[in-house]
Amino acid sequence: GPKVLQIPSHQIIDMGQMVTLNCDPVSNHLYFYWYKQILGQQMEFLVNFYNGKVMEKSKLFKDQFSVERPDGSYFTLKIQPTALEDSAVYFCASSLEHHSGNTLYFGEGSRLIVV
């Protein structure tokens, strides 16, 4: 089936440094999402993105977070600067439509460890 690819799968980074998580969504999809899951905890919504703009974001989407999809390439989540509490698995998802029965496809996740 359709695949969402996430790069990197794992990253260890020093607190205060910048990190960019990359997502290659399903090719014809228009809606993009990021979720955060701390080990053993609930999957938390961060942000969704359509037509070059953030549609909705949660309280977890701090000022240090930003998303973009320049020129239809990777959909990226940037954290600058990183903090210890940003350690988590970040999942990217994409969908053809937002309000529908279309399937939301998820990547395998990017495990971020901030030390």
Binding site: Y33, Y35, Q37, Q42, M43, E44, F45, N48, M55, E56, S58, V89, F91, H98, H99, S100, G101, N102, T103, L104, Y105, F106, E108, G109
Partner: protein
């Protein structure tokens, strides 16, 4: 904001029994999707069903949109069905529930 409640939190069954998992939304949801989360964390999409009933294999998803609830029925459970089942949905923000941990034993 939107909240998603899943019940039960955990369920223990004998192989061959049926499972019924519930999902309730605090406000109107325009989409509902069920996932299985593997032990390593990756998600397997099971059914996307904003309203009505959908089947695939041993899985049946029923969503009653106006009552803001959905259910996932697993018939003739197998040991390999063990794991965490997540309900996700909403309207503007698509939120996950905390999951139902299913254990199927022989």
């Amino acid at each position: 904001g939107q909240q998603v409640q899943q019940s039960p939190a955990s369920l223990v069954l004998q192989e061959g029994e049926n499972a019924e998992l519930q999902c309730n939304f605090s406000s109107t949801a325009t989409r509902l999707q069920w996932f299985y989360q593997r032990p390593g964390g990756s998600l397997v999409s099971l059914l996307s069903n904003p309203s009505g009933t959908k089947h695939t294999g041993r899985l049946t998803s029923t969503t009653v949109t106006k009552e803001r609830r959905g259910s996932l029925h697993i018939s003739s459970s197998q040991i390999t069905d063990s794991g965490t089942y997540l309900c996700q949905g909403g309207s503007a923000k698509l939120i996950f529930g905390e999951g139902t941990k299913l254990t199927v034993s022989s």
